[in-house]
Amino acid sequence: MSTSPTSVVVTGLGATTPLGGDVPSTWSALLAGRSGVRKLDWDNVDELPVRFAAQLAVDPAESIPRAQLRRLDRSQAIALIAAREAWRDAGFAPPVRRAKSAKPVEAEPGADEGFRVDGDRLGVVVSSGIGGLHTALNSYDVYKEKGWARVSPFTVPMLMPNGASGHVGIEFGATAGSHALVSACASSGEAVGYAIDMIRAGRADVVICGGTESCIHPLQMASFGSMRAMSTRNEEPERASRPYDKNRDGFVLGEGAAVMILESEEHARARGAKIHAIAAGCGYSNDAYDIVLPDPSGAGQAKAMLRALEDGGLTPEDIVHVNAHATSTPAGDIAELASIRAALGDVADRLTVTGTKSMTGHLLGGAGALESVITILTLREGLVPPTANLEDMDDEVDLDVVRGEPRAIPDGPAAALNNSFGFGGHNVSVAFRRAV
């Protein structure tokens, strides 16, 4: 394995997901093969084709004060929660709040504990695929019922898809740059790739990167439902997301956020940070085929994986594991396995594959980041979470898909890919290497 000129490492992890309010609870649920999918308890839910989803395990109101929550879309609130966990995990000092007024700011308790990051060397890349859907629709309801003057003046910053990135930047004083890449279900895979590039380009030493999504709303159940993209296993929600199973019938919508702290290896080593993994590189491609259907040849997906290897200075032989996009759709899951084989050749017979959306549901713009966190933990802990609900393996599956119990990965050098593919034709593969 060669190393790129600037090695980028992962020093902090954070998440709030349908499985738990933080990384440890999410990880233990993944290892246990637990589903985060539940019935929706909405009024008029019976009018919808799909009546279940993977909602957050922990309400954001438990950690964000009511007044602050009023001006944050739910997708932004949970991005902040995940970012705070990642920040603490990285061992950084609590941020200093900047007042809007000229008066001096009192130091937060504990402000001297932890490493203080130079704001001009700190960047943010936090993506959302959809943005503030709840805000947009709720504000329109207010407008129709009460008129324009009652529409919250925070509606625009709450519905814009870069809002989460903006809020994270404000909270941590990140002045090197703040970005929000939007590419549907590939959005936060791209966020990780862009963060790696920011550090390699010398624009930042530390980047807070990740993704968030919260759009479990009747409109989404109706619109994804009308595409026939979602599972309709309404009587058994927990068993609905079942990648690679013969009886899979579509994806399950999930919500959540995941955030990582990426850091130049030099910066991390100089401050004695613990290193979860090496963010080796990222590969991109575009199908240029159809706005929602993946190219059936799988050529674009394979290209993204090969480019991730190239970008990360890796060879197919280095790869021991793939966290697959695997959304539980009849066509998509098998096509991706063919792409993995096309990209990695005979190595495909030796690696493990898992589909963790079986438990978390599909976080859309949050998926790439959450599955990056899972891939990092897989390498660090040497354990592959099983694909849940995989009872009757599809005959066309010809790779080693982990199911039932977690699978151990041997110690020593190892690398893994995390695939994310999005409507629009976006293919992203992020490569992580074990820190040894």
């Binding site: 009511r66 007044a67 007042a99 809007k100 007024s101 008066k103 009652r150 003046p153």
Partner: protein, 87 residues
């Protein structure tokens, strides 16, 4: 608006609105406080506070006037002036 609010009523109502909208403790909201300098309230939050105050006190606060309402006392005076019986 059934009854004319006293200065104390307006202060109490305004403090409740500010607590609800920006999460500043009601005891912090005293007449001499400047919204921006002392309470660190931004301009968009002021718009929300003004709309809530209009609903609560039954008065119109035009955008031009809002710019001049810099302290808690300014709002109290503005509301009281509009509530005075006309003619």
């Amino acid at each position: 608006m059934a009854a004319i609010a006293t200065e104390q009523d307006i202060l109490k109502g305004l403090a409740e609105i500010i607590d609800e909208i920006v999460g500043i403790d009601k005891s912090e909201v005293t007449p001499e406080k400047n919204f921006i300098e002392d309470l660190d309230i931004d301009s968009l939050s002021m718009v929300e506070i003004a709309v809530a105050a209009q609903d609560q006190f039954g008065v119109e606060i035009p955008d031009d006037e809002l710019r001049n309402l810099k302290t808690v006392q300014d709002v109290i005076n503005f509301v009281q002036n509009l509530q005075k019986p006309q003619g």
